[in-house]
Subunit: 190 residues, 2 copies
């Protein structure tokens, strides 16, 4: 069976592309795993080798992103301010998304159309904020500052990501930096 992999190059990518096409055509709720697999020219069994369910097609990247951001925060130079550590991590991770803008835009659209998916997205972002707050506490940042920096960072990421998917002329790290500048202005002026 292991040799099958030779005949299924980039199965994950094909399944993802097929799923996003079907979500766009028929909506998330009306799309089945069987249809996704058929569109990708693969079996359902192959689908379930990569994803636990169709929702996972939209969220499988969240765990890797969270690990990457937490590692970056942990590895920031000693004395780095908490929001700086979070923002630097976001900017570094932001480059990763550059090849994935079309997917990201389509994903935003699918999620916006489903209450269940919007809730799942909120839960993932809250988990990300909690993980970043813990990474900051592990650096010795006190509780309140750690939580606020993590929440502010995730808010910046969420807002920037939305702006970036709408504006093909800009790169995500730049949008993030502008958004942080805006947050500083909002906080300073209050």
């Amino acid at each position: 069976m292991a040799s099958m992999a030779r005949w299924e190059p980039d199965s994950r990518g094909r399944l993802e592309t097929a799923a996003m096409q079907l979500f766009a055509e028929h909506g998330f709720d009306a799309t089945t795993v069987a249809e996704i697999a058929a569109r990708a020219g693969l079996t359902e069994r192959t689908f379930f080798r990569y994803f636990t369910d169709k929702r996972e097609v939209l969220f499988w990247g969240a765990a890797g992103l969270q690990d990457l951001l937490v590692t970056q925060v942990a590895d920031a130079p000693p004395g780095t301010r908490p929001l700086t550590a979070v923002v630097d991590a976001l900017v570094a991770a932001g480059g990763m998304f550059e090849q994935r803008r079309d997917f990201a835009r389509e994903r935003q659209r699918v999620i916006a159309g489903s209450a269940e998916l919007r809730e799942r997205e909120l839960i993932k972002l809250a988990a990300l904020a909690a993980a970043l707050a813990q990474a900051l506490r592990d650096r010795g940042i006190p509780d309140t500052a750690a939580e606020l920096a993590a929440e502010a960072g995730v808010a910046v990421f969420r807002v920037s990501f939305g702006r970036w998917t709408e504006d093909p002329t800009r790169e995500l790290p730049d949008v993030i930096r502008d958004c942080v500048t805006e947050l500083k202005g909002v906080a300073a002026a209050s």
Copy 2:
């Protein structure tokens, strides 16, 4: 039937108290509406006059809080900075909770113990942030600043509320003000 109300003073309060006792004793999942009504000395029918389900006992206040905060933001003096408008609204609303600290602490504990309730709380807070962002846009604040001020304000509220339920010596408006000062420090230092 209307005259029954004479024999059920503060039915909502009695149902709420009974529900919180039962959630603490047996857990949220194991508690039934029938048990809540019986503990309160009321009928299930009376319960459903006040709450759509047992979860609503924990969340019925959210709509009123959101309306109050949105109205306060809308009524802020012209030229008030966006985060100031949100924080002033939170501080004003914070006084309301002073009589409800025991309920709030118990509520936090019940919510922390259930994934379903934590998700419901996230959804309510996201709805609050969206409503506050819209109230700021209605005041002419540009999109990004409105979203960031609303998200930062809700983060401050969430963190402050947690601190306040744990520390009986402090009042919520003061905790909120301290938390905003901390947020300014976190943003300025980055």
